[in-house]
Symmetry: C3
Subunit: 348 residues, 3 copies
């Protein structure tokens, strides 16, 4: 399935690196462990050079500190970055229907930009606006009065509720639900009374949202995801939450209602954040940790309840010593008892 | 997008409160932080009055203890409840296709009540019954021999498996899967043997189920969700589970197989409950806690394994003191050693 | 809804057991608690016999050690296994469209095997191959160049991304997303740069994947799920992960990127595994535990960070004693202080 073939020298030019060795033809990419003939891979540090040399790859991207004559190479300051560019070069073109598929349901008043793709059995509700170069894949549901910015891709099975606003160059992966009702109920003697969720969701530019993730609509205003933030699969963002710019939320994170998260916040997998909490900029939350109160200081936090990672590590280390401590404590008590006995004798 | 406009006096009447100040026209709702001209907001306590007065709102809902002449107000005993009613008043009408959309697939033997909406590309399987005023949104899948009660809404991308029974006035949000097979396998020398899951799911009246939640079908009888229970997004309810009435399950909760949960049980986000566990009525489980054995006494529980919250807090507080305790213990050991040395001298 | 009716003697024959008592007609299955007339249930041990005898069931499957004359019985060495076979006998036939539904979109170059069912509004992308006896339920999305093996079932609302390979006799439950992009970004001064995810997902034979689960495509090669592995609902498997054969992953498990998991590994609900971790064969991970580093030794692990379950239990038990320990420690300090005082007197 090689869609492209490049001589090594041409590839070096595209990567702004310098080629050395035979000018082989590169038809794809591989990892050091699995690369096959025709593929190029990369090594990040000199210590990985032997693995690269003995790999099946036809060429290596290497740093200046790890050149070799055993394989054709491209020398570049940042081999990992260069490899990312190679991935882009060899990425297969996304396939989509050109134009609006005859089976797509387009309700009244929909505005469709230029070069828009709407796939089979997609549904676009009344008065919705699809910007230029948007791609709505088959079986996606876009409610009424939605705005989707230029260059945004909405994958199959996605739900975008009414009045949601999605910016430009966003990617919403399969099965995500953007704009379902927030979980708001008022206790009454007759049971839980549903508080209408009449707000919306605003997703700024350059946001990516993983598969089967949920972002709920606000009670009154908007649940908001800041520009450049990337969210993984199966994440849950509750109503009235504000997430800042350039955050990273890994898989299965859960953010409870009305919480506010700053910019450049990174959350490991399965992190949970309580409702009505504020987290400042530049915070890193370790995987599985649970934030139950405000975080006002940048840094790395972990554990439950989440505290500074260094303290959490210390507490953890202490905990490991606890069974021993208990034993030693019993011993010390015994020694004390003996001493008291003897001292009793002394004082007689 | 103001769908409604009410003079303040009219709104006060609807809320059974009393208006005071200029009879302004209200066209929407806002929060104290963000309200704009034309909108009404609320304050719950006198301490919030200054924020309300300086907000952009055109009017405030206030308690009798916090009246003002600086803005038009509605005075009411329970401003939060009144605000919930205002949200209902201003909530946009849900849009749906009137009748059965020509693209919907309706298999043989389906019974359709009065005022039913079935959206584009929805699928309704053989012999299924849709009660009066049900709303099946586009792209929903309802299997065969399903029963859906009056006034229930099924959102896009939902899966309802065969023979599932859903009561009246339920809401099933986008992407949920109700009635997929339970996770049941028998170990054999040839690997995991699938135990057929031939039971079903019964969802009683007034239940709300969040987006991308899963409720699995029972092995033999029925997985059951009691009346009035509200379930958030991305929750997983395994096969053979029984959940009582008026429970609240927050986002990403997981309930393992054959567990029984009483009435009025509240679970915070990411709570996990083991299989074959019984939880009695009126239990509150703190966020992220893990229940590994029966809970027989009402109360608040937290931690892993979940214990009474007060004990968990005490254990947590002790844990924080542990690094210090270790230091102090070493000091005490040293003092003991010195004492023993001196006493040794004494006894010589 | 009794699809079948068997005389007890016939059922005994099918189960390779021996019938005793009246040759009643069995029309379904029930549990000891809920069985109704016409149904058969089972008891595993003699201690459950009274419950079986007083149940509503018309017959019991019993072990040789627990026969009775109070109900018709089938005696068999392994009543649980026999009951699983009974479930299979009484399982309703799955319903599906015979052939390709006229509304299904089948793109160019699709290869369709024998006895294939493609349901209403399903989408099958270019050059995809559907093996014999595959069942693609309504509203499923199968991308281009996908391969699906013989006898595999894909439920409604499932997303299978381009180039994904699914083996034979697999079951993919409703709403799952197989082959969405992995969560890979490179930090740059301009924000998170998307690393193209040009690999795929390979799912081997006899794999079952629960509802709303996500398995992301690899950056370069393939995320791989080994033969015979069973995955529950709402699980997240990140890119570049390899899972071995015959594993069991319970609900809401999360596996971070590039992790490798051996054969016969069992994970309880809500388990999290860090990225780039290796777990050897025959490991059991207790519910909610978090694995942050390699596991090289088979056994049962629990806690966060996950350690051998026995150690975790010991640490847990110690933790419970900690508040008491703190009190006793203060007492010991006081006794020490007193002793030192007295000794001070002594030494004067």
């Amino acid at each position: 399935m090689a869609k492209h073939a490049y001589p090594l020298t041409k590839l070096a030019e595209l990567l702004q690196g310098s080629a050395q060795g035979e000018d082989v033809t590169i038809t794809g990419v591989g990892t050091v462990d699995d690369a096959k003939a025709g593929q190029i891979t990369f090594i990040e540090k000199a210590v990985m050079l032997p693995a690269g040399e003995s790999s099946g790859a036809s060429a290596l991207i290497v740093p200046p500190s790890a050149t070799t004559e055993r394989k054709p190479i491209i020398i570049t300051e940042d081999p990992r970055l260069a490899f990312n560019r190679v991935l882009q070069i060899f990425a297969p073109e996304p396939k989509c229907y050109i134009g609006v598929h005859p089976t797509a349901v387009i309700e009244d008043g929909v505005t469709i930009g230029e070069h828009v793709s709407v796939g089979a059995y997609a549904f676009i509700g009344q008065n919705t606006i699809l910007g230029d170069n948007t791609m709505i894949l088959p079986l996606a549901y876009i409610g009424h009065e939605v705005t989707i910015g230029n260059g945004t891709t909405v994958h199959p099975q996605v739900y975008v509720g009414e009045r949601v606003i999605i910016g430009s160059n966003c990617i919403i992966h399969a099965g995500s639900a953007i704009g379902a009702d927030g979980f708001g109920f008022a206790p009454t003697p007759q049971g839980h009374y549903k508080i209408p969720q009449i707000g919306t969701v605003i997703i700024e530019d350059d946001v990516e949202i993983g598969a089967n993730t949920t972002v709920d609509r606000a009670t009154v205003n908007a649940t908001r995801i800041g520009a450049g933030t990337k969210i993984d699969d199966s994440v849950h963002v509750a109503h009235n939450v504000t997430i800042g710019k350039n955050c990273l939320l890994c898989g299965e994170v859960g953010i409870a209602g009305s919480t506010t998260i700053g910019n450049n916040v990174t959350m490991g997998g399965q992190v949970g954040v309580n409702d009505h909490v504020k987290i400042c900029d530049n915070v890193v939350l370790g995987g599985k940790c649970g934030v139950i109160s405000d975080i006002d200081e940048p840094g790395v936090y972990s554990g439950f309840p989440a505290i500074k990672h260094s303290s959490a590590m210390r507490a953890e280390a202490s905990l490991r010593k606890l069974p021993d401590l208990l034993k030693q404590f019993r011993a010390l008590q015994a020694r004390m008892h003996e001493l008291e006995q003897r001292l009793g004798e002394h004082s007689e």
